[in-house]
Amino acid sequence: MNDQLLAFVDVLREGNVKVSQAEVVDAYGALPLIDVMDRSEFRETLAATLIKDVKHRALFDRLFDVFFPLGPTNAEESEFVNDPEHTPSSEDLADELREQIVDALLENDLLALRLALRRAVTRFAGIEKGRPVGGVYYTYRTLRQIDLEEVLKGFLYGLSFGEDTTVERDRTKATEGVSRLIRSEVESEVLRRLVGDRGSRAVAKTLALKLPEDVDIVHASKDELEALHKVMEPLARKLASRLAQRHISQRDASLDFRRTVREAMSYGGTPARVYFRKPKVSKPEVVLLSDISGSVASFARFTMQLLYAMTNAFSKIRSFVFIDTVDEVTKYFSGGESIQGALLQVTTKAKVVGLDGHSDYGNSLSVFEERYLEAITKRTTVIVCGDARNNYHPPQEEVLGRIKDRAKKVFWLNPEPKSYWNSGDSVVSIYGQFCDGVFECRTLRQLEEFVVRGV
């Protein structure tokens, strides 16, 4: 187990979770004080000593399951599995298991549920030894054979006959909970077998788990996007207060003469303590110009969401979106609408297609100059989001030059990996000469770094 814990820490570190030596020592120090056979006790102890940031907890939990899976198969289970007389056909077994699962659910018997699902995985997942896979397909195969829909139907049917009528339950909520439970049980069972087959480290590697802030935004899966949204709000709050702090400390505080003299009275006229005025906070003005064409739309949405979640860090924020022409979308964010609602309106209402719906940065820039140039003053920071893939249209970079002359700073955020820049129809370096900085911005971490340093 000692080695296993060290390997676990190693993999956490590989996943960008900082775990210091002192924290590992703490974890070892805590283990003798608890019952390590109690899995939740063990889990919480490791979490409390090793993980100091709630954003890291989801990754910790996934990896914990890989490194310290549920105990070995117990006796009751092997009885079912290795019974040579009892080998029903797939359909019969599926029916039988479904019944057991429904019963277990109705009686709220987690152990029975787990046993039934273990048998299901044994029979239906078709796990092939030694294959370096993450197990998604095995889970899918098992769930398809059990037929989740049927289970839910049986469960609801059983509920309506149960005595539990005192509590009026919301059905959709109940079924949602049940299907989530079954799915996660099957997943962890598949995971347990994979770990048994190939070892924790190998499985952790194929799963390629990442912290939400390291996920490539443009290519994120649905689950990853959900995780991203969760960390977004606290991150925005943090960034806002960090920016406010910086704008305070940059100014020199001036002496509060009146207060200093007043307080000196109590020390017989000696100014024993000197007081300073609170400096005024100066906030930046931001103009955001985002490409929302298919390839980079999700990135544009994220950037808008992040900046609007931290609006109180800016004195003013205006945003524009474009594909081959440009439109202002500031008004959607200013109403009482939530950011999600506003983003929906942006995608449905903004007039950004003039011609063919392929990105045209040159035309968008010149339309922007024509219509909205007044938005840019010498206090404005302009942020352009896009991959600068111009579909071989003329880039009209001189327009960006004129914008730069008016603005305080111009930054370009490119959601493409740096190695792809300037290949094919990407003209990012042509625009780059008129920017104060061009940044690769594929992950939330990079976006965060930019906001802290740039705006």
């Binding site: 120090g29 100091k52 943090k238």
Partner: protein, 293 residues
């Protein structure tokens, strides 16, 4: 130490009106046994401060509280020399003797008599073990955080004129943070970490049961389910536990036996503190019918 197992911590907290989950009980237990501070993070109103208070109450220890704010410094957190008394002392001596006494005098005015204890120092110097609550530590500036480091790792304070003050006992330390900024690695490394999120439906229902007497079980569940649904929505300020309790108490007062859409609509303002939030949720209730909760 009175904590001999995690379950005994759990029972004691429960007996004192705080409903812990396994995570909370484990961390409190470890903190006491390992003599390490606990850093508690989580949204506002989930019982972070309450936990420290309850631990103090159940162990009959004194609670020493340091409320953090921007601009908090050594003289408010650790110790301060009593200027006025020192000045008086100097003046009193001047009249009598003269300059010869300077050495004696300087030794004298930097002695304990002129030392004003602030919360951190007090927590170390009280003869009985105490609970030290450092509240909203994220409000401190990054530089001021360093003030805490020596206290949290070695449980000592260095005062240049007096030397190092050793602890009379090791206090049980809780730091709370609303996560408005990332705390320094150095601080986090010294602490055990506990994240207290909004409670799940079961726990919130139990909290309602314990805190508000006379709420029917079915109603408590409806309340907990509705509030948990609200928190999943994209609103500015999510209702905290105390707002849930206020709401439950009001419903009880109004003689409501079961929640329906109209009652939810009318009493939303107890749960939500922004007009735009109330508006959004009303719209949601209308559009989805029985939708959330």
């Amino acid at each position: 130490m009175k904590f001999d197992s995690i379950s005994s911590v759990e029972d004691q907290l429960r007996a004192n009106g705080y409903l812990p989950n396994k995570e909370i009980a484990t961390v409190v237990y470890l903190a006491a046994r390992l003599e390490k501070p606990v850093l508690i993070e989580g949204p506002a109103g989930t019982g972070k401060t309450e936990l420290a208070k309850t631990v103090a109450a159940m162990t009959a220890m004194d609670l020493i509280r340091l409320q953090c704010y921007e601009g908090l410094d050594e003289s408010k957190a650790l110790y301060e020399w009593n200027y006025r008394k020192q000045l008086l002392r100097i003046q009193a001596t001047k009249d009598v003797a003269g300059e010869a006494n300077w050495d004696l005098l300087s030794e004298d005015i930097f002695s304990e008599e002129y030392l004003l204890e602030r919360p951190l120092l007090r927590a170390l110097r009280t003869p009985r073990q105490s609970v030290l609550l450092i509240d909203e530590v994220d409000r401190l500036e990054v530089e001021a955080e360093a003030l805490l480091l020596e206290v949290l790792s070695d449980f000592q304070v260095s005062i240049p004129e007096l030397g190092t003050v050793a602890p009379k006992q090791i206090p049980l330390v809780f730091l709370t943070s609303n996560g408005t900024r990332d705390l320094s690695e150095a601080l986090k490394r010294r602490c055990l970490f506990l994240y207290i999120d909004y409670p799940d439906i079961e726990r919130e229902k139990e909290i309602i049961d314990t805190k508000i007497t006379g709420v029917e079980e079915a109603l408590a569940r409806q309340i907990a389910e509705f509030v948990s649904g609200l928190r999943a929505l994209d609103i500015k300020k999510k209702p905290s536990i105390s707002e849930t309790l206020d709401w439950a108490a009001s419903l009880l007062e109004m003689g409501v036996g079961s929640l329906d859409k109209d009652i939810k609509r009318e009493t939303l303002s107890i749960l939500l503190k922004y007009r735009s939030d109330i508006h959004a949720v009303r719209k949601h209730l209308d559009s989805k019918g029985r939708g959330i909760g």
